[in-house]
Amino acid sequence: MLESAGFRIQERKFDFFFGQITSTPRNQARSLQNLEDLARLGIRVETQGRDRLMQIFAAGLTASETSPRREDEYGVTIGRTVQVESEVAKGGIEIFYLYRDGDLSSIPEVTTIIPRIYR
């Protein structure tokens, strides 16, 4: 587990974000979609894309909430969106933070992201 600037994230998530997951055909397609959409937003693993995502995850901690909070036995999940623009696309990345046991003062884990292309 990586910890940085107020959040935690499992290393393996980056495989999902950058197109490396092949566990089922549908997971592979979703992982490749993440890779493509992040690339359109200018975030590529070969050009420090992982560091850029870490910066975005840190910025997301204080961004507006963009999904209803979800509560389950693991804790509370909050989705927040960071706007991202590249030379070819404008979009946003919704980041989901899990606050274990519902403790909103604890350090959250990034559980997944949804890159979105607006234009």
């Binding site: 495989d15 089922t24 397609a29 979703r30 979609q33 036995e73 693991y74």
Partner: protein, 157 residues
Amino acid sequence: MVNLIDVDLARFEELPPACQVIHHFNARRYAIVQLTEGEYGLSWQSNLIEPVVLEDALTWIGVDQKLVALRQGRIEVSLPLAFPLLEILRIDQAVIVITELEILVFNAEGSLRFTKGLPDIAANWSIEASQLSIKLLSKATVRLSLQSGKELSAMSV
């Protein structure tokens, strides 16, 4: 047999709004589903992702963050999904909708049996003896009873 045809925005918009059963903002792909009772439109954002279709007592269709189930021209289920859809499965009398971070289990006729959040992304899954095993990206496994939704065991989650 469900016939799913890729179309452009103009063809999608020719459908009456009530037949545009899956709609996403900033859509990049459009399709028409041809069923015996009529045509239904889908729009979604992910250009590399194909809709998931399951034909059962209802016809279940999902893509990105929307799910519908149709029966003879009626929409029996229409739900936004909190997380991107991965798979729709049928086992015994249950329809199992797997999203990245949540499982939804419906009865075959469309009523919701239970939902179950996941602490990590579902990487793959198997079903045996009314138990759903979800292997997470972290390699931990969550095992659920498909009857009750109760967790049978959880390792390192």
